[in-house]
């Protein structure tokens, strides 16, 4: 490290809040705990290697050379889907910048009116009507936004994810809007691969035993025992999971909604996102457009504090870095166009340093950035919400 400060290009992923790990200079995005993901990789690659080493020579000779070829294609597809699911942005919603957070706070304060001292303010909920159903949007205290419908906050990754399905440790990432179809194709192709290997293991053992006897076969190809074991246990879990997700897709539901029972009988709210047509639901989830990432990971951080908003070209995760950011730290100056209740807020917020952390000193004049403790609903339901 030289003593002279040569300005190093800092990319935005280095400053992103949340508990993700990034690799390849921001191109790869995963959760922090990757141990189970490595186990998944090991199991798949290990079992397939054993299959190619022990079974394939015999089967390609005695049955057909197409067997290992098809196995190879399936294996490559499984790996591609797994890596795609693990490495892509699941649909993380960026946190609100200070001005947006303040704007929302002021709206909430205006809506709540005057809360008598000592009483907890009402829970932060926004009701929206979607396809003639009332859906409640919850406020996220970490990200300082009202979560869009179907979004949820993942406590493991500490991000709000759009169309949040679940956090999958096997894949080492959240499963959300952007990578759900890859996850589904991964489970589907893995089921097929497992069934395929299991079937041909049995075929191989049977064929060889006819010639040489069962025990000799096992001695010659010891890998078969391992493969059959792994496949047997994998079959039950992965095939079951694929079936479950097929059911969810046909109803256009997420795992999160299913677990919470959002659309089941008691609440009497029907799923407003479902087209009530299995084919249409499947098409929307699996053949819908490929959503872009709204997290600009590879863009360059601009250190200049005297910035104003720009209209930059959007940066996709694989494009060249776009050198823009809209980190406006200029103080907000009230003028007569500012709504009256915002004036003291704006003046006070100019004094304090903007920070995305939720614990704020309570003696600032702006509406105190709320924490879950100050809110009636979340303090009760703290354990349930992510």
């Amino acid at each position: 490290m030289s003593a002279v400060m040569i300005t190093r290009k800092v990319r935005k992923w280095e400053k992103l809040p949340g508990k993700n790990t990034f690799c390849c200079d921001g191109r790869v995005m995963m959760a922090r705990q990757k141990g189970v993901f490595y186990l998944t990789l090991f199991l798949i690659i290990g079992t397939c290697s054993l299959f190619f080493a022990f079974e394939c020579p015999y089967l390609s000779l005695h049955l057909s050379p197409a067997i290992p070829v098809f196995a190879a294609v399936l294996f490559l597809f499984v790996m591609a889907m797994l890596l795609r699911t693990s490495f892509s942005d699941p649909g993380v919603l960026p946190r609100a910048l200070p001005e947006e957070a303040t704007f929302i706070e002021m709206e909430i304060e205006a809506a709540n009116g005057n809360v008598p001292a000592g009483q907890r303010p009402p829970p932060r909920i926004r009701n929206v009507q979607i396809n003639n159903q009332i859906v409640k949007l919850k406020y996220c205290y970490t990200c300082k936004i009202f979560r869009p419908p179907r979004a949820s906050h993942c406590s493991i990754c500490d991000n709000c994810v759009d169309r949040f399905d679940h956090h999958c440790p096997w894949v080492g990432n959240c499963v959300g809007k952007r990578n759900y179809r890859y996850f589904y194709l991964f489970t589907l192709s893995l089921s097929l691969l497992t069934i395929y290997i299991f079937t041909f293991d049995i075929v191989h053992v049977v064929m060889r035993s006819v010639d040489k006897g069962f025990l000799n076969t096992l001695k010659e190809t010891p890998g078969t025992v391992l493969e059959v074991l792994v496949c047997f246990f994998t079959l039950w879990s992965v095939v079951g999971l694929t079936g479950f997700h097929t059911y969810l897709i046909s109803l256009n539901q997420t795992t999160n909604e299913d677990i919470k029972g959002s659309w089941s009988g008691k609440n009497r709210i029907q799923n407003p996102y479902s087209h009530n047509n299995i084919i249409k639901n499947c098409c929307e989830v699996l053949c819908g457009p490929a959503y872009p990432s709204v997290l600009d990971r590879r863009g360059l951080m601009q250190e200049d504090p005297l910035v104003s908003a720009t209209c930059a070209a959007p940066a996709s995760s694989s494009s060249n870095p776009v050198p823009q950011t809209t980190k406006t730290t200029a103080p907000l100056i009230p003028n007569e166009h500012t709504p009256d209740e915002a004036k003291p807020g704006i003046a006070a917020s100019a004094e304090k340093t903007p920070s995305p952390k939720e614990e704020q000193p309570p003696d600032t004049k702006i509406p105190p950035l709320a924490t879950p403790e100050t809110d009636a609903e979340t303090s009760i339901a703290k354990d349930k919400t992510h």
């Binding site: 869009p148 104003s308 930059a312 406006t328 100056i333």
Partner: protein
């Protein structure tokens, strides 16, 4: 503060591009308005066309609504589920989605069109009125952020309409 807006290629745009830079140099940020998402039709990207009160003296309602409606149309086009999206999806699946490494998705193409449209709107309509629209993709597609600028100096720059009491009826 250079290079914040991509260099305009059109000769006409150069003079209006100048407006934006002058705006930033002479004006100071007064306030920001956030246009929220409209979820009445589901989770597709759509913004509310309700005219915010802070912009009442700054810009005509019809101009604002046109901008938002055009943006909504662009997003609807990007998210449309029909023949083309099926084709793209099936083709991509057949290549194990490796084709996305070389090909641009339809959504990304539309996003580029949107960025161009917003820049054009800023230069032609919003900057002369002391306003600036931020591309929603920079705010996670949650809000359209409109920055309201207050003219700092009395020396007339092109952003003359940001004077305090004047209405900008044109």
């Amino acid at each position: 503060m250079q290079g914040l807006v991509p260099t305009a290629t059109d000769g006409n745009m150069a003079t209006e591009f100048h407006n934006l830079q002058e705006l930033r140099h002479s004006a100071s940020l007064a306030n920001k308005v956030f246009i929220q998402r409209d979820y009445t039709e589901g989770t597709t990207c759509k913004f509310q066309t309700k005219f915010p009160s802070e912009l009442e003296s700054r810009i005509e309602r019809t101009l604002f609504e046109d901008t938002v409606k055009t943006l909504n149309n662009y997003y609807a086009e990007a998210e449309k589920i029909g023949g083309q999206s099926y084709l793209e999806g099936c083709l991509a699946c057949a290549t194990a989605y490796l084709i996305f490494l070389c090909m641009e998705t339809r959504y990304e193409k539309v996003l580029k069109k949107i960025a161009k449209y917003i820049q054009e709107q800023n230069e032609k309509i919003y900057a002369p009125r002391g306003l600036l629209i931020t591309d929603p993709i920079e705010r996670g597609m949650r809000v359209i952020e409109i920055s309201i600028y207050e003219d700092r100096g009395s020396s007339g720059s092109s952003s003359g309409s940001s004077s305090v009491s004047g209405s900008t009826a044109r």
